[in-house]
C-alpha cells in the first residue's frame, strides 16, 4: 500500500526519476528531554560513515525538558557544512510545532511524522510518510517506562529506509554511541530501529527525490564539538590550573576537559594529578583564581560566556595592567543580559576586546573549526605567557556545542614555551631585575615567580600605578611611560598573532571579511555568487585581534568589503573603525545577521545582492 498522501489537484513530481543525492538537510523536530539526541547522533554518524560530508546542529531551548528542539543534519557532497536554511526532509515528532514546521517547508520537501498528528491534510505539495510510532514501539520495547526513549530510534530506521542510509552503518553508529557498557540498551534500540526500517519498507513507496549514496569524502575524519577540541588543546598545551563556573554554552568545554585530564594527566608512577580543576563560586572568583595561578607560574585558564565575561571585567583589567598570563575561552551566546542562552552569536567582540575600565585592550583568537579550536588553544597559552597578558579564545555556541567533521588533530610539534621567567640561577647571574622594564624592545618585562629562592626575586604586584620596579607611583611621567609601553606591547603582539586566511578571487571588486563560524556561510556564499550570479568575491578570514597589516592590504585591494558580523551593532566593523583611516573605512560595508541561528550562505548572498543593487 502506498501511503503517500498527495491531493490529486496538485500532483507532485515524485517518482519522476530526478533525484537529489547527498545534498539536502534533514530536520528532526522533537521535545527536549525525550532522548532524541541519541537517535539524531546515530543518524548523523551513519551518513558520515558512508563517506558523505555532514554537519549536525542542535537548536535547543534553555530548559531541561518539555520544550521544542530541532536537530538539523546537513549532508553535502560539496562539503558545505554550514547551516542550510531550507529543510528538505522533516521528521515531525513534536505535536506542538508540527503544523508550523510543515507549513514552513519548501514545496517538494518530505515529511515523516507521527501518524496521529494528521499532518497530511495541511499541504498537498510535500511528500508525507505517516508512521504509527506508538504501535511500533510496543512490541519491541516490552517495558512501558522505556518506550518514550526507544521510540525515537524508530525514525532512524524509517529515515534510513527512505534515504537509503545503509543499516549496517546505522548499527555501527548505534553500537559506538552506546558503548560497550550499555550493550543491552543498544540491543533494545537496534530492535526499534529495525522495526522502523521494516515498517517503512512494507508501507511506503519512495516518492521524494532525496537519497544518500556512498562517497569517499570522510575517510579518516573525526566528529567532534568545538568545546571538546578546545579542551584537548588546553590539555596538550599543558594547562595546570583550570577554574570555571557553569554556563551554557561553555560548561561542556570544562566538563570535557575534566574527563580527559582524569584519563591522561595523572602521573603514571604516583597517580598524582598534574593539574587542579576548581569549580569556583562565580566568575568573579574563577577569573581571580586563574590570574592568581598565572601570577604564580601556572598555565591557567577559565571558560565562560557573555554574562561571565561581564563579571570578569574588573579582574581582566588587572590582568592587563599587572601583566598576568591567563587564557579565557569565551564561548559566545546571544546577549544582551541573559539573552537567548542556547542560541549562537558573535556578540562579545567589542566588549571583550576592550574589557574593563580605562585604556585596556586584549588579544583575541578566532578559531573557525574544531582543528583550530585545538591548535589555537595551544597557541593561546604560549601567547599568554609570552606577552604576559590575558588572552581570549573566542568561539561561539555553534562551534562549541555542535558536532563537526574534522581532520584528526596533529600532535603539537613545538615545545611548550613559558615566556620570560627568571629563575634563582638567572638572578645570580644578572644580579637583579626590574619587573616592568622593557629590556628586549617588545614591551614585555621579565618576571619571577613567588617561591623563587633568591633575595632579588621578589616584587610587588598591584593594579594601582606602578613604575618599572613595580613600586607604587602616581607620577604623571611614570604613568604615561608605563601605558605607552603597554601600547607598544600590543603592537608587538600584532606581529605574532595568527595571520588571516586569504582567498583572492581574480578580478574581484568586492571582498568579505569574516571570522569564526561565519566562515562556512561566507565560503558557500562566494560559490553561490559566482555560480548563480557570476560575481567574483575575495575573502579574508580573520584569525586574531589585533589585526595585522594583511587586513588593510586586503581592504585596499577591493572597492567594497563586506564585514560579516553575527551581531546587531556591527562590532567587528566597529573594531576596525577604531584603528583604520577614513579611506579604508569608506570601503567597508556591514553585513549582519543576529537571529541566534548559525549564519547560512543564502542570507549572506541575498544581503550582498541587495547592497550591490543586483
Amino acid at each position: 500500500m502506498s501511503t503517500l498522501e498527495v491531493s490529486p489537484d496538485e500532483p507532485l513530481s515524485g517518482q519522476s526519476g530526478h533525484s537529489v543525492v547527498n545534498d539536502f538537510s534533514i530536520q528532526v523536530a522533537t521535545v527536549n528531554g525525550s532522548g532524541s539526541q541519541t537517535a539524531n547522533s546515530v543518524l548523523m554518524r551513519a551518513i558520515f560513515q558512508m563517506g558523505v560530508p555532514v554537519s549536525g546542529k542542535n537548536m535547543f531551548p534553555s530548559n531541561i525538558a518539555g520544550l521544542p528542539t530541532w536537530f538539523t543534519i546537513r549532508a553535502s557532497r560539496h562539503g558545505y557544512i554550514g547551516r542550510r536554511k531550507e529543510i528538505d526532509f522533516l521528521v515531525a515528532m513534536n505535536p506542538e510545532t508540527a503544523r508550523e514546521d510543515v507549513m514552513n517547508l519548501e514545496s517538494g520537501a518530505a515529511v515523516v511524522y507521527d501518524e496521529p498528528l494528521k499532518l497530511s491534510e495541511l499541504r498537498s505539495d510535500v511528500y508525507f510518510y505517516p508512521v504509527p510510532f506508538d504501535k511500533l514501539v510496543a512490541p519491541v520495547c516490552p517495558e512501558a517506562k522505556l518506550r518514550k526513549l526507544v521510540r525515537n530510534m524508530i525514525y532512524d530506521g524509517v529515515v534510513a529506509q527512505l534515504l537509503a542510509v545503509e543499516m549496517d552503518e546505522v548499527h555501527k553508529a548505534l553500537v559506538k554511541q552506546f558503548g560497550k557498557r550499555k550493550a543491552k540498551a543498544a540491543e533494545l534500540n537496534w530492535g526499534a530501529c529495525k522495526a522502523g526500517f521494516d515498517y517503512a519498507a512494507r508501507s511506503f513507496t519512495k516518492s521524494d527525490p532525496y537519497r544518500v549514496a556512498r562517497m569517499n569524502a570522510t575517510a579518516g575524519k573525526i566528529i567532534v564539538d568545538g568545546n571538546s577540541a578546545c579542551a584537548l588543546g588546553a590539555m596538550f598545551a599543558g594547562v595546570t590550573v583550570v577554574t570555571w563556573y557553569p554556563i551554557t554554552p561553555s560548561s561542556s568545554l570544562v566538563e570535557s576537559l575534566i574527563g580527559y585530564m582524569k584519563r591522561f594527566r595523572h602521573d603514571p608512577e604516583t597517580g598524582k594529578a598534574t593539574y587542579a580543576i576548581v569549580q569556583a563560586e562565580d566568575e568573579l572568583a574563577s577569573i581571580g583564581m586563574a590570574l592568581g595561578a598565572g601570577w604564580a607560574g601556572a598555565r591557567s585558564m577559565t571558560a565562560t560566556a557573555g554574562p561571565g565575561i561581564s563579571l570578569m571585567s574588573e579582574f581582566v583589567g588587572l590582568g592587563y595592567y599587572a601583566e598576568i598570563p591567563a587564557v579565557i575561552f569565551n564561548v559566545e551566546r546571544v546577549g544582551p543580559s541573559t539573552g537567548l542562552p542556547t542560541r549562537t552569536q558573535q556578540g562579545d567582540l567589542l566588549s571583550t576586546a576592550l574589557l574593563s575600565h580605562g585604556d585596556t585592550k586584549h588579544p583575541m583568537f578566532f578559531p573557525s573549526s574544531c582543528e583550530e579550536c585545538f591548535s589555537m588553544a595551544i597557541d593561546a597559552f604560549d601567547f599568554a605567557e609570552r606577552f604576559q597578558t590575558p588572552v581570549f579564545v573566542m568561539t561561539d555556541l555553534d562551534l562549541g556545542m555542535n558536532n563537526w567533521m574534522a581532520d584528526p588533530f596533529p600532535y603539537p610539534e613545538k615545545p611548550i614555551r613559558r615566556g620570560k621567567v627568571l629563575t634563582a640561577e638567572d638572578l645570580d647571574k644578572i644580579g637583579g631585575f626590574a619587573r616592568y622594564k622593557d629590556v628586549d624592545g617588545d614591551g614585555v618585562g621579565y618576571r619571577t615567580l613567588p617561591g623563587t629562592n633568591h633575595p632579588a626575586a621578589s616584587y610587588f604586584t598591584r593594579g594601582s600605578g606602578h613604575n618599572e620596579k613595580a613600586q607604587y607611583t602616581e607620577r604623571e611621567d611614570d604613568y604615561i611611560h608605563n601605558m605607552d609601553r603597554l601600547a607598544h606591547k600590543f603592537e608587538a603582539m600584532r606581529r605574532h598573532v595568527p595571520e588571516p586566511v586569504v582567498r583572492m578571487a581574480e578580478k574581484a571588486r568586492i571582498g568579505f571579511v569574516a571570522l569564526g563560524t561565519s566562515d562556512y556561510a561566507v565560503r558557500e556564499s562566494c560559490d553561490q555568487l559566482k555560480s548563480e550570479y557570476d560575481i567574483d568575491a575575495s575573502y579574508l578570514r580573520l584569525r586574531a585581534y589585533p589585526f595585522t597589516d594583511r587586513l588593510q592590504d586586503f581592504i585596499r585591494r577591493h572597492e567594497r568589503v563586506y564585514v560579516v558580523d553575527q551581531n546587531r551593532d556591527a562590532q567587528l566593523l566597529g573594531l576596525m573603525r577604531l584603528e583604520f583611516d577614513a579611506d579604508l573605512i569608506a570601503r567597508l560595508r556591514s553585513l549582519r545577521y543576529y537571529g541566534g541561528l548559525p549564519l547560512d550562505a543564502r542570507t549572506v548572498t541575498d544581503e550582498v545582492l541587495k547592497q550591490e543593487g543586483k
Binding site: 584537548l232 599543558g238 594529578a273 569556583a280 572568583a285 581571580g288 604564580a296 619571577t448 633575595p455
Partner: protein
C-alpha cells in the same frame, strides 16, 4: 677610644636573617593606625619563627589595610589585587604552588562588605593560608563610611547611626569551615604575636579578626572599634603561649588548666584559660559564647577555635609534592599515544 669598641653581635634568626630583612617599605598609613601595629607583629613573628621569606606569598584586596603587605616581608612576593576578591587570587596562587605559605591582609570592608562571598567560599574550602582582617568598622581609604562589621548603634564622626547588625567574621569562619579562628586587638602585642605564630604553624585556613582602630575616622566616642572602647569592652579569654617546634619543650603541663595544642609542624600552642570556661575545640559552644558576648557588649579575644585534623582544600586535589605550576613538559603534555587514543574514539 672608638677603635676599641667592637660592635654588638648582630641579632639573627635561625636562618641567619636579621629582622630588617623581614620588613617592607615605609608605611604610608596614618600615624597611630592599628594596621601599622599588625604589620609590625607580622614582621616580628615571621622573623622570630625563622620563616623563609622566599616561600611566602602576600595577598590583599583594596583598602588602607590592604596596602599593608607592602610594609612587611619585602623579600616575599606580594599581590595587591582588587577590592574584596583577594581570596580568589590567593586560591589560584596556592593551587599553582601549594608549597607557598600564603598570608592575606584585608579590611572589614574588603572582607565583610564587597568580599563576603569570596570570604565565605575561602572559609568553606579551608584553604591553607593566614587571613588577617584588620577590622576598624569603617572604610578607611574612602574616608570613613560604615562597613558591615559596624555594631548596631555605633556612630560615625558625622553622627550617622548604624542600624544594621554586624557580620561577625569569626562566627562566620568557624561555622563554615575555617580551622583556626581567633580575634585579637592591634594594641595587644603579646596576644597577637602568639596568635600569628600559631597561624603560621597551622595547617589549614586561619582567620584572624584583629580590631584595628582607624584613628582618623573611627576612634571617637560612639565608635565601638576605638582604642578607648576596646580598653573597656575587651574580654581576654586566655593567656597564650606559642612554643615553636625548634625549641625543646619538656616542661610538664598541669592537667586541666592548660590546653596544649600540637600544631602540624610540631610546635605547640598552650592555651591557659582565664576566668571563663571556654573550650576552643568546641565550635558550637564558641558560637554561643560569641552571641552571648555580643549581647553583653563584650569583645572576646583569644583563640576561638582550633582544629588540627580537618583536611585542607589542597589535600583534596591529590597533587604531588612539586608545585604544578612548574612541572616540566614531560609531565604536563601527554604523549602522542594519548592524542591518538582520543582521536580514535572520535572516528
Amino acid at each position: 677610644m672608638s677603635s676599641t669598641v667592637t660592635p654588638p653581635p648582630r641579632k639573627m634568626n635561625r636562618l641567619g636573617l636579621e629582622v630588617l630583612q623581614y620588613k617592607g617599605s615605609k608605611t604610608t598609613l596614618c600615624a597611630g593606625c592599628g594596621h601599622n601595629s599588625v604589620s609590625e607583629r607580622i614582621v616580628e613573628c615571621f622573623y622570630e619563627l625563622g620563616v623563609n621569606p622566599y616561600t611566602v606569598a602576600k595577598f590583599s584586596g583594596i583598602g588602607c589595610s590592604s596596602k599593608s603587605p607592602a610594609y612587611f616581608l619585602g623579600l616575599s612576593h606580594g599581590f595587591n589585587s582588587v577590592h574584596g576578591r583577594m581570596p580568589s587570587i590567593a586560591t589560584g596562587a596556592l593551587l599553582a604552588n601549594a608549597t607557598l605559605l600564603g598570608i592575606g591582609v584585608t579590611g572589614d570592608g574588603d572582607t565583610a562588605s564587597i568580599g563576603i562571598g569570596q570570604f565565605m567560599h575561602l572559609v568553606r574550602r579551608n584553604l591553607p593560608m593566614i587571613y588577617v582582617i584588620e577590622n576598624n568598622g569603617v572604610y578607611g581609604l574612602t574616608k570613613g563610611q560604615f562597613s558591615a562589621t559596624a555594631d548596631v548603634g555605633s556612630t560615625l564622626k558625622t553622627g550617622v547611626h548604624n542600624e544594621l547588625p554586624p557580620f561577625d567574621c569569626c562566627a562566620l569562619a568557624l561555622k563554615w569551615g575555617a580551622t583556626f579562628v581567633a580575634r585579637s586587638f592591634s594594641g595587644d602585642k603579646r596576644q597577637l604575636q602568639a596568635i600569628l605564630k600559631a597561624a603560621i604553624a597551622h595547617h589549614g585556613l586561619s582567620v584572624i579578626d584583629v580590631i584595628s582602630p582607624c584613628v582618623t575616622f573611627n576612634d571617637h566616642e560612639g565608635s565601638t572599634k576605638s582604642y578607648a572602647y576596646m580598653k573597656e569592652h575587651e574580654e581576654v579569654l586566655q593567656e597564650l603561649d606559642f612554643v615553636p617546634a625548634f625549641e625543646d619543650i619538656t616542661v610538664e603541663i598541669p592537667e586541666g588548666e592548660v590546653l596544649d595544642v600540637q600544631m602540624h609542624d610540631g610546635s605547640h600552642l598552650r592555651i591557659r584559660k582565664l576566668h571563663r570556661d571556654f573550650n576552643p575545640t568546641d565550635r558550637l559552644a564558641t558560637l554561643a559564647a560569641l552571641e552571648d558576648a555580643e549581647a553583653k557588649e563584650e569583645v572576646l579575644t583569644g583563640v576561638l577555635y582550633v582544629n588540627t585534623s580537618k583536611p585542607t582544600f589542597l589535600e583534596l586535589l591529590n597533587l604531588g609534592d612539586a608545585p604544578i605550576a612548574t612541572l616540566p613538559e614531560s609531565k604536563v603534555r601527554p604523549p602522542k599515544a594519548a592524542l591518538d587514543e582520543a582521536m580514535d574514539e572520535l572516528r
